[in-house]
């Protein structure tokens, strides 16, 4: 409407311009369209046509690649030893990873997910004493800012798991659990920072209060190791990475392998000592402890292997079917074409 009026108007104005205007200009401007490939829609183009002939090899190739991968995945996954709470140790000589698992725990609830202040965790001083509104109702306590604020931090998993090996003569040997290397490297070194460096955390956190549910303040999470204390405590960082599903596991400790020949967890009797602090019954939750080895594909998960084998087989099968159809069709087609 508007534009068409405009166009017409311009017409009028061209001729409206003084004598020398309109006509000459219009005549000079050649209206012949450019003969370019683009404007004539004749750009050189690749015109792929998917036919049985072209797709057939692809199916076979996919089948041939996927089935071995699937078998590999499946075998790997099966080789991963994973034990929940009542563990039967193995002769595995690799690292054994210790997870705690929670179920029916909605770490992915929206109210929960957003209840954190990443600038506070990044070591920002102003955010330390004045945390984000998102942390409500875990933002202030007794007039002091909570550090670390928010529901996630407040509900930090605080059970302690200890594993003992009971050797033949009945003595309990503590199995050394490594608590470092359980969080993402980038989280530990970049995303999480203590305010004012890692030294003298007590002073740095002065004027803040501990989360309500915590027994000790954040600077006492691991007093023995200044590199694992405060916001950069790895247990804390792991907890702060909210899980995707209501049933989840989180890496707790790593049992380092000993020597090449000796199994990390030799067979024998083991005792798991859990200091039960973390209430889960109120929301109908469950706790688990999982010991697992890890392969190149991560933890035990038969899904991928089965999926790959299935898809690979389907492709292979389709390949065969197509081959037959194609073959038959081709001959019929040829014979039909001859009379023409």
């Amino acid at each position: 409407m508007a534009s068409s009026y405009n166009a017409k108007e311009e017409d009028g104005h061209h001729s409206g311009a003084p004598a020398h205007g309109g006509a000459a200009a219009a005549a000079a401007k050649s209206k012949k369209p450019d003969n370019t490939a683009f404007k004539q829609q004749r750009l050189p183009a690749w015109q792929p046509i998917l036919t049985a002939g072209t797709v057939l090899p692809a199916f076979f190739v996919i089948g041939l690649i996927f089935i071995p991968i699937g078998i590999g995945l499946f075998v790997t996954s099966n080789n991963i030893r994973e034990f929940e709470v009542t563990a039967t140790p193995t002769r595995d000589t690799s690292n054994v990873f210790m997870y705690y698992g929670l179920s029916n725990f909605y770490q992915n609830h929206r109210r929960y997910v957003k209840s954190r202040d990443d600038s506070q965790l990044y070591g920002d001083r102003s955010a330390l004493t004045n945390p984000s509104k998102e942390c409500e109702p875990y933002r202030m306590s007794d007039g002091q800012a909570i550090a670390p604020c928010g529901a996630i931090a407040n509900s930090l998993f605080n059970d302690t798991l200890e594993l003992y090996h009971i050797d033949s003569n009945g003595t309990r040997n503590t199995i050394p659990l490594v608590k470092k290397g359980i969080a993402w490297w980038t989280d530990k070194h970049v995303k999480f920072r203590n305010p004012g460096g890692n030294n003298n955390l007590t002073a740095a956190f002065r004027g803040t209060s501990k989360p309500v549910n915590w027994r000790k303040p954040v600077y006492d999470l691991d007093p023995s190791d200044p590199d694992n204390n405060g916001f950069i405590n790895e247990d804390f960082i792991v907890w702060m990475r909210t899980a995707a599903l209501p049933t989840f596991r989180k890496l707790y400790r790593i049992i380092q392998k000993k020597a090449v020949t000796t199994p990390t967890l030799p067979s024998g009797r083991y005792v798991l000592n859990i200091s039960y602090n973390y209430p889960v019954l109120s929301f109908d939750g469950r706790k688990r402890m999982i010991l697992s080895t890890i392969s190149w594909m991560g933890g035990k998960n038969p899904f991928l292997g089965i999926a790959y084998i299935t898809v690979g087989s389907i492709c292979f099968f389709l390949g065969v079917v197509l081959l037959i159809i194609h073959h038959k069709y081709d001959t019929r087609n040829n014979s039909a074409d001859i009379p023409n």
Partner: protein, 1150 residues
């Protein structure tokens, strides 16, 4: 809107028009009256919409009036007000982008308009004020001012011509910028006004401004020294329109009657028909479906949320307490806000970007039509013109083509073929033979007969020379560069030096109708040359090289209803003669019957051969008769109201009792490739209807020539003649015939086999012929019940005929027919094509209106949606451009819905795993960028460049057009397919990753992934799948496609690294920090991504493969067929009317 236009065109009901009184030069009419200066608007043209101050509010208001924008605004506001899962930025940013771009575009356009307005408004003009010439800016002109305009200037407002520098009180004007007609038009000063404008004391009474360019009614009262005021009638010939240009005249003076926004130019060009395409309707329907999906998703989630929360411990576990405020909120309010939050979370299913992309596709896509060099016509040096880009895809959906005959199917390039004088035939055989050999070489064809008397011959030729409105182009040098459709140069007269007048000049004639030029040129060949009109007298050079002068007394103009025109002239000897020429049907009843019989045979034979015939009659007026006629004409011309009707009555009264002299036959050659084009259209499944004002015989033979009717086509004729056959009442006969034809064509015909092959099969083809009079009987039957029944029968018959010919149509009837078909069952898509003013109504009425840049002015082009130089271009426009545009936009629409469905479905499913807490699955950046950056460019490129079948094949195989007929790819079935595909993909993405996450320890160092990794994996699969799905559909990979498809994917990867690689200070949460990089470090994530992409595309590939075996082969066969069929047709239309024998065979012709 349309109604108004139609009314305007045909002078419907505008009887009561207010009138205005203007004092010329602001001097009061009668001296004793005080001047009460009436208030008229100033002469400022305001085409701009905005000013600097109101731009922002007004523009925003305009934009948010669009329902889509308003919806997005509401979503945005909900996000701002309610605590919603996604930040307002996610929907605000796209909306802001769209609004800003539109505002900038509109602002720029408005700025251009301001500039143009200023140029016009500040243009200096000269105004006479109290005897002085004063320079003024154009916008300061007031109604009543006397304005001076010089040669080649445009008129600053609508003026009544008072004085011209030419001796004969005329001036020449071109209205090229108004209606595209570049011929010179003559305008006349008001008769008998004083030469001295300063002392002119007059008032003008005229109608209030009306948009019709060709209508003006007014009266001028001239007061001279207390005498009774003299009254002069004013008509369009006295009115100079703003925007027109003064030509061939040094200087004129005129008085302003309409100014500024009330000028006829400003009143025109305001509205343009708002046609909506069928695709748009489909989009709206789909949108509604998706809106329902959206609402039901939100409802389901809200309900489940409250069900879930009712279990103890779920709503507020100890680790996740609510704030005090949340606890205090009213439950129902909470439910409502939850519902809104879900709406916001899922609102991406209806993306803003679709509207933007569709608009861009249409806007950019239409350039390909203007760019197409095949549409370039070297003769007029112009290509195709796109007036609206909204209907591109409609070109691929046409089911009915309504075409004009003259100028559309035929060239409107008239050539005088033969004439018949008193029943004797004169055929002009060789243009190069001696001219005065008329009597010698061009004897009667029938040797047995004698020639008509010399006297009659000369009378006939004089009639041809006098009865017209042709102008002679004066300066031969200029003729060359100003050639337009209407001038037609006559070959050098190769006569010996005897001819004194047009020595070696090239003489060219200008007329509003090419028939007239052909007739004048025809007469010239036989020795009578029209030399021109000089001060009201027409000069003729006769055979003996003597110049004859005739005083032109009156011109009784041609109009399509009367179908004839006359002139009244006075010869030197004092005789007053009336010459009349017109269609046989309008002349025969007005002459003596015995004369008719002699000529009728010739006329009908000529018509059968496809010539345009005109009959010429004359009459000697006695002094009394003339006086009476003269008075009647003057009176009617002075009438302010119903002038047309009064004039018509006088015309009819004068043009009676004439005697027939002869008839002429003019050939109108077929357009280039007219037959091929029509054949292609019919092959494409379109029904072609010819709507013409011409005679049945002429039209029928054109139809044969265009191969609309074939040799074996059985013609069903429903015309005045067949109705009169039975000798019974017309109504009864009509009833019988309709029933008979219906039985034949509809009931007995085997049911058409689902479109594809019925046209070529052996069953009988029917052609239907109806004329205007019968049509109005069908449509306006006496009884109401009959009327609808007849209409139904008529429609059904027509729908079963391969071609329909409607002759003797008035313009309004053309529109009526189009409307009737348009509203018939199944509401088929109609296309009208025409070149003249009489086609405007049907062009406006049809879904798609196409104008041909022909010889009958530019009105059709101006009112059309697309304009092409020649009929033959229609084939490519529909079969190639239309087909491609339709496929492109249909795919675009389906794909958009699909990709947003599988985008949002995982987010919906995620609600079942996060306690219905509206937790988004994807990061806000992904939510925002998905439609803007990651997946928008490939589909845009596809929708501009795709050629699933290449253009040549489309042109060669008209049948391919049938594959997309009836909105084939936007029906519910394909929509359902795409929707199911989207659902399948969404489910696959979500659950694939969900099973992977049953053990979130996915890295080889035992570390676990969180919810953002989950979303990122799903999103990565999504972006890749959706893009590769498009890649699979792309049949035409240009480098641009490669660039945008692979570029989009690369951009996604690059962006994800970048977005996750930095701690962004402005973000409150660093959710994606290194999530993408960590994902890529996990082998399992890689494997699941590859697996899911492949699995989603597998069914598609299979489908393509299984469908393919039939595809290309069938196509090849079609190719073979068409090339076999095509061989018989590549003849040019050099000799168009090969139908001489046809007429004998076809069963209805005389």
């Amino acid at each position: 809107m349309l109604r108004r236009r139609l009314n305007r065109l045909f002078g419907g009901d505008e009887r009561r028009v207010e009138s205005r009184t203007i004092n010329v030069g602001h001097r009061s009419g009668s001296p004793n009256e005080a001047i009460i200066p009436p208030k008229f608007c100033d002469n400022r043209i305001v085409s701009s919409k905005y000013t600097v101050w109101n731009f922002l509010p007004k523009n925003l208001f305009e934009q948010f009036r669009r329902i889509a924008n308003f919806y997005f605004l509401i979503i945005f506001l909900v996000q701002v007000i309610v605590d919603t899962p996604t930040s307002p930025v996610t929907s605000g940013l796209p909306l802001f982008f769209v609004i800003t771009v539109t505002a900038i575009k509109q602002g720029y356009e408005d700025w251009l308009r301001h500039k143009a307005d200023n140029e016009v408004n500040k243009y200096p003009v000269t105004v006479l004020e109290d005897g002085r010439r004063i320079r003024k800016e154009s916008e300061k002109i007031k109604v009543g001012d006397v304005v001076e305009v010089e040669e080649d200037e445009t008129f600053p407002c609508d003026l009544i011509l008072l004085q011209s520098s030419r001796d004969d009180d005329t001036c020449f004007v071109t209205t090229a910028s108004l209606d595209g007609e570049s011929n010179h038009k003559t305008h006349y000063t008001v008769p008998d006004t004083e030469r001295n404008l300063e002392s002119l004391n007059a008032t003008i009474e005229c109608e209030e401004p009306q948009p019709d360019l060709y209508k003006f009614v007014g009266r001028m009262h001239i007061y001279t020294n207390n005498q009774e005021p003299a009254v002069r009638s004013l008509g369009p010939e006295n009115l100079l329109l703003k925007g027109a240009t003064l030509k061939n005249t040094q200087k004129i003076y005129g008085v302003a009657v309409y100014s500024g926004m009330e000028t006829k130019m400003a009143l025109n060009y305001q509205g343009k028909s708002q046609k909506r395409s069928a695709v748009e309707k489909s989009i709206n329907a789909f949108l509604l479906v998706y809106l329902c999906i959206l609402v039901s998703k939100a409802l389901v989630c809200t309900t489940l949320k409250y069900v879930w929360q009712s279990k103890p411990g779920q709503d507020e576990p100890w680790y996740n307490e609510k704030t005090q405020k949340e606890k205090d909120t009213n439950l129902y309010l909470k439910m409502f806000t939850d519902f809104l939050s879900f709406m916001v979370l899922f609102n991406f299913i209806i993306p803003v970007s679709m509207y933007v992309t569709v608009e861009m596709q249409k806007f950019l896509g239409s350039f390909f039509i203007t760019w197409d060099k095949d549409f370039f016509d070297p003769e007029i040096k112009e290509g195709a013109l796109v007036n609206t880009s909204d209907l591109n895809e409609e070109l691929g959906q046409v089911e009915y083509v309504f075409t004009d005959k003259t100028g559309t199917l035929t060239q409107n390039n008239m050539e005088f073929i033969e004439c018949c004088i008193d029943g004797f035939q004169y055929k002009y055989q060789d243009a190069r033979s001696e001219l005065d050999g008329f009597c010698v070489t061009d004897g009667p064809v029938n040797k047995l007969q004698q020639k008509a008397g010399r006297e009659r011959e000369e009378l006939f030729l004089r009639a041809l020379c006098l009865c017209h409105t042709v102008q002679v182009k004066e300066s031969p040098e200029q003729a060359q560069d100003q050639v337009d459709g209407l001038t037609d140069q006559v070959d050098d007269l190769e006569v010996d030096g005897e001819v004194p007048y047009p020595s070696q000049e090239q003489r060219s004639f200008i007329a509003s109708s090419p028939d007239e030029v052909a007739l004048v040129k025809g007469a010239m060949r036989y020795g009578f040359t029209f030399l021109g009109l000089e001060s009201k007298s027409m000069k003729i050079l006769n055979r003996n090289n003597g110049v004859e002068m005739y005083e032109l007394l009156h011109v009784l103009n041609f109009d399509p209803v009367r179908r004839r025109m006359s002139v009244i002239v006075r010869s030197k000897s004092g005789d007053t003669l009336l010459f009349c020429k017109g269609a046989d049907s309008s002349i025969f009843p007005r002459v003596r019957q015995e004369e008719v019989e002699r000529i009728r045979m010739h006329v009908e034979r000529n018509a059968t051969e496809g010539y345009r015939t005109l009959c010429v009659a004359y009459k000697c007026l006695s002094a009394e008769e003339y006086a009476q006629a003269d008075e009647g004409l003057r009176e009617a011309r002075l009438a302010l109201q119903n002038r047309e009707e009064k004039l018509m009555a006088v015309y009819n009264q004068v043009e009676t009792g004439m005697s027939l002299i002869g008839a002429t036959a003019v050939e109108d050659r077929l357009q280039e490739e007219a037959a091929e084009t029509m054949e292609a259209l019919q092959g494409a499944g379109m029904k072609v209807w010819v709507l013409t004002g011409d005679k049945m015989e002429t039209a029928k033979s054109t139809c044969y020539a265009c191969r609309l009717f074939q040799r074996n086509t059985e013609l069903l004729e429903l015309t005045v003649r067949t109705l009169e056959d039975g000798g019974r009442r017309r109504e009864e006969r009509l009833h019988d015939l309709l029933n008979e034809y219906h039985k034949k064509a509809v009931q007995d015909a085997p049911p058409a086999k689902a479109g594809v092959t019925s046209w070529s099969s052996a069953n009988q083809d029917y052609g239907f012929i109806i004329d205007g009079a019968t049509l109005s009987m069908v449509l306006n039957s006496s009884s109401e019940s009959n009327s609808s029944r007849y209409k139904n029968l008529f429609l059904q018959i027509c729908q079963n005929c391969t071609a329909v010919l409607c002759c003797r149509m008035a313009p309004l009837q053309k529109a009526q027919i189009v409307k009737m078909v348009k509203n018939s069952k199944g509401s088929p898509i109609t296309l009208s094509i025409g070149d003249g003013a009489n086609d405007v109504s049907m062009i406006l009425e049809a879904h798609v209106g196409i104008g041909i840049k022909g010889k009958e002015g530019r009105q059709a082009v101006r009112n059309s949606d697309y304009a092409i130089p020649k009929l033959k271009h229609l084939k490519k426009l529909l079969l190639a451009h239309g087909h491609l545009y339709y496929v492109r936009i249909a795919h675009l629409v389906q794909y958009f819905f699909y990709k947003n469905l599988c985008f949002i479905l995982p987010q919906f499913l995620y609600q079942f795993f996060c306690g219905y807490s509206q937790q988004p699955l994807y990061d806000a950046a992904y939510l925002t960028m998905y439609n803007i950056c990651f997946t928008s460019m490939p589909i845009l490129a596809y929708s501009l460049l795709e050629q699933h079948i290449c253009i040549e094949v489309l042109l060669d195989n008209a049948t391919l057009y049938r594959e997309i007929a009836k909105n084939a790819t936007l029906r519910w079935r394909p929509f359902l397919y795409w929707t199911l595909l989207g659902v399948f993909h969404g489910l696959l993405f979500f659950f694939g990753v969900r099973y992977l996450f049953s053990n979130p320890a996915l890295q080889d160092n035992g570390q676990v992934f969180g919810n953002w990794s989950y979303g990122t994996i799903v999103f990565t699969v999504l972006v890749f799948t959706v893009t590769l799905k498009l890649a699979l559909d792309t049949r035409h990979w240009t480098w641009i496609n490669h660039f945008v498809i692979w570029g989009s994917l690369a951009f996604y990867v690059f962006f994800s690294f970048f977005w996750g690689g930095i701690i962004w200070p402005f973000l409150s949460q660093q959710r994606l920090y290194f999530v993408f990089a960590n994902m890529l470090s996990s082998v399992s994530a890689w494997l699941v991504i590859i697996l899911l992409i492949l699995l989603s595309l597998l069914p598609e590939i299979l489908l393509v493969v299984f469908r393919k075996p039939r595809g290309p082969n069938a196509r090849q066969k079609e190719l073979v067929q068409s090339s076999v069929g095509g061989h018989q047709s590549p003849r040019s239309s050099a000799r168009p009317l090969l139908m001489r024998t046809f007429s004998d065979e076809s069963n209805t012709v005389i």
